[in-house]
Amino acid sequence: MRVNFTVNGRPQEADDVWEGESLLYVLRERMGLPGSKNACEQGECGSCTVRLDGVPVCSCLVAAGQVEGRDVVTVEGLADFAKQRAESGCATGACGTTLQDAQQWRAKGTDSQTGEGGELSPIQQAFIDAGAVQCGFCTPGLLVASDELLERNPNPTDADIREALSGNLCRCTGYEKIMDAVRLAAARQSEAV
C-alpha cells in the first residue's frame, strides 16, 4: 500500500508498504530516518518515541497505515521543531504545539557527513552538556519525550520528570545525568525568558 504523511514538516510518500509494517520500520528502512531506535519493538523501552500529531508515541506500536494524513516528528526534526515553536512566540515552549503549527513548519536538512547545518535544540544541547549520553541508544526517544515534557511543563519537579520519562529505558547512565539534562534545559529555558 501507499502511505502519505508528513515527517518533520515534509510531505512524504511511502510505496509498497506491507500492511504489517510499523511506523518505526517505515521511518528507519524506507524514509532513511534511523534516528528512532529499535531496542525492543514491543512498546516497553521508548527508544522509538516520536510525536504523532504532537503526542509522544512508541512508533513501533503504530501501524504504518495509521499515520496516513498525519504528522510525525522524529529526533532528526527535533531541533527545527523546537526552533519553530520558539519563533511562534512561545519562548517558554509552554504553549504546546497546535496541529496547524505542526503542519506549517519544515525541518532544514543537515549534512549527513558532518552534522553541520543543523543547530541543536535546547534539550539536545543539555543532554550533551550534562553527560546524559553514553551509548546513546535510548537518547532519541528520551529527547523527544523530554522535549514534550518541557513544552507542557516548563518547570517540572524531579517527580514530574521521572513520571514523564518512565516509559523510556536507559541501561547505561542510571538516569542521574538524564535528570540533570532535563533540569538544565528547564533552567536555561527559564533564564532565556
Binding site: 549527513s112 552534522g115 541543536l120 539536545q124 550533551i128 546513546g136 517527580a159 547512565t173 542510571g174 538516569y175
Partner: protein
Amino acid sequence: MPTNGAPTKITQGSQTKGGIGESTLRPDGTLKVTGEFAYSSDMWHEDMLWGQILRSTVAHAEIVSIDTSEALAMPGVYAIMTYDDLPTEVKNYGLEIQDTPVLAHGKVRHHGEPVAIVAADHPETARRAAAKIKVDYRELPVITDEASATAPDAILVHEGRDDHHSGHVPHPNIVHRQPIVRGNADEAAKRADVIVRGEYTFGMQDQAFLGPESGLAVPEEDGGVHLYVATQWLHSDLRQIAPVLGLPEEKVRMTLAGVGGAFGGREDLSMQIHACLLALRTGKPVKIVYNRFESFFGHVHRHPAKLYYEHGATRDGKLTHMKCKIVLDGGAYASASPAVVGNASSLSVGPYVIDDVDIEAVALYTNNPPCGAMRGFGAVQACFAYEAQMDKLAKELGMDPVELRQLNAMEQGTIMPTGQPVDSPAPVAELLRRVKAMPLPPERQWESSEGADVRQLPGGLSNTTHGEGVVRGVGYAVGIKNVGFSEGFDDYSTAKVRMEVVGGEPVATVHTAMAEVGQGGVTVHAQIARTELGVTQVTIHPADTQVGSAGSTSASRQTYVTGGAVKHTCELVREKVLELGRRKFGSYHPAWATAELLLEGGKVVTDGGEVLGDLADVLEGETVEIEAEWRHRPTEAFDLHTGQGNGHVQYSFAAHRAVVEVDTELGLVKVIELACAQDVGKALNPLSVVGQIQGGTTQGLGVAVMEEIIVDPKTAKVRNPSFTDYLIPTILDTPTIPVDVLELADDHAPYGLRGIGEAPTLSSTPAVLAAIRNATGLELSRTPVRPEHLTGTA
C-alpha cells in the same frame, strides 16, 4: 606512598586545554542527539537482504531431520543454510573453548540454539520462511543444576571433551574448577568464637543492552567480506569468524558500527558468522537485526550461582577463616566460564584480610542458556554472598556492620588468598567511612501538604500505599574487582597515532580497534592525545581491523590498556616530532639541544616555559605516524590445586550505602537512595567517571529487586524473554545516586588511573539487600528479591 587526592606528576600536557582530568564532552555526542549516529542496526546497503535465524524450540534434543523445501520455495527467499552447508571443517567457535556450533549439528543443547539461517528480501519474509522450516526433534532429558550435572549416570552435555580444562575437572559436566587453599581453615576455625554459615542464590541476570545484536555483511570483489558490526572486541571476532568462512583473516575486514551498550553481552559472537555466510552464499549484502525476544537467546547471560559460605570470627570481630564453594551455572557452552571461575574464586574473600581460607569455584555445563561475561564477571555473585555473611556475622557479634567491615578491611600490602600482594592503594575502610558519612535522605519524603506523593512510595503510581505498612532500612556493602584480563593472558593493546598540519593547524589522529560501546573511550583517547601532544584538535579514527588489536572493552580495562597504548604511542610520536624540530630549527636556539622539551598548546616549549616554535612549523610538509603495542605488567596463571599465583593486574574498590523503603504488606521495595564511594586512581574524565559509577550502581540495583531470567527447571526453557517480563530499572525505580570519588594513584598504571566500570556493580546489590534485611528483619538469601520473599508467600 601516594597521598589522598594527589594526582600523578604530570609535566607534559598540563597546559593544553581539553586534556586529561577535564570533563570534556563526547566527540560523538552531537551525532547521538541528532539521530545521525550510525548504530549497527542502522546500516543499509542497496540490494541488501535480511537474515533470520531459526532457533531451537527445545533445550536438549537430537535433530532427527530438517526440511527446508517449503521455506526455500517462498518468493523473496534467496538462501537457507544449515550445518550441512558450512563451507569448511571448522564448524565451531568460542572465546576460549571452541565448543559452540555455528549451526546445530545433530543436536541442540539449549533453548534458542541456532539451527538454520535464512536470507530474504524483507525481514518479515525471512521470519516467515524460517517458521516454515520443519525441524523434527527427539527430546533428551535436561541437565539443569549441580545435582543433575554431576550425577554418576548424568548425560554429558558435551561428549568426548578434549579442551585444556577437561583433564583436571572432576566431572565432564564441569567446565573448570579452581580451588584456592591458603593457611589452614579447619585449624583456624578452632579459634573462632562465632561461626556463621549461609547458602546463597544469585539469579540469572541479562545485560539488556538496548541496541540489539545486529550488523551488515558486504561481500567484496576479492572473495572476502566486510562486516560492520557492534561488538566488544573486533580482533577476537575476526579470529573466530575467518576459519569458519574458510577465509584468511585479511579477507575478513571488520569495522565497528555504532554499539548500543554491551556490558559483557557482546564478548561472544552473535550474528557475525551467520551474516557473513549468507552474504558469501548469495553474493549480496546481508543485514541481520535481532528483535528483543531473539536478543535474550542471542547472547550469554550472567552466571546464576549457588554459594555456600562459612566465616568465623573472634568475639572482638576479627575474622578467623573462610570456607566457600561457588557453583556457577555456565549453561550449554563454555563462553567465558573458565575465566569467571577464576575471578569468583580469587575474589571470593572480598576486600578483607583472612589468612586461612578454603575456596572452591566451579562452572557447570547444563542445558540452561549459556552464561559468560557480564559487568562484574564472577566477582558480583561472590560479593553478594560475602557481604550477606558480614551482616550475619555483625548481627551474631552484636557489632555495627560497617565497623566489622572496617576492622577486617584490606589495605595496601595485604596478601590476597592467591598469595598476591595488593601493591597499590586499597582504601576499603575509607570508602566505607565516606559512604556512611554522607547525609541520609529525610524520612517520609513522600509526605506533602496535598497528601502522599505516591510516586515516591513503594508501588509508585500503582497507588498501593499512602505510607501504611512502609518501613525504612539502611544497608552497606563494599567489594573488590580485578581490572584487566588475568591469569597470564597477554592483555595488550595497540594504538596508531599520526600528527600532521591540516589547514595550518597541528592535528593528531588516533586510530585504535577499541570498541566504543558507550563508556567514553573515544573521549578519553582524545584527552590523552591533547595532553601528550599539546594539540587541541584530535581526530578519532573509526575502529576497525586495519590497526592492531585493542583487546576487549571489558574487565574495566580500556582506559588502562588502550588508554595506556594511546599514551605510549603519543610519547613515541612526541619524540619523533621533537627530533624533527631539532633537525629543522635546532640551529636557531640552543635550548633545542639542551632543555627538556614539551609540547604545549600547539607549541614546542622548554620545561622552563620558553616557547621555541610552533608545532605547525615543525610539522609543515611532514607526517609523523607510529603504530605501537603496549602491555601492563604480566600476570600468572593460578595453580590448579592451590590457586596460588599473581593472577591479577589491579584491583578496584567501591562501597555503597542503600536506603530503602519496603511496603511489608505487599512486599514492594522502593530504593530511596543508593550512595557510592569509589577510588578511581585518577579521574581522566570526571563527568564520565560519575556516569559509569551511576550506571553500574543501577545495574546492581536491578538484580537486587527485579532482574532475573526465569528458566523452567523442568524443560530448561526461558520463560520471560522480553522487556515486558524481564524488568530493568526505569527512571522511577532508580533513586538518586550521590557519588564520592576518591583519587589515590596506582603507581603502576598510566596516570595512576584505576579501571572503574565494574566495581560499582558489585556492592550495589548486597547494599540493597542489606537495607531490605534491615527494614524487614528477614534473612533473604537470594537475589533478586521478589514480593513473595518479603510477604512470606514464596
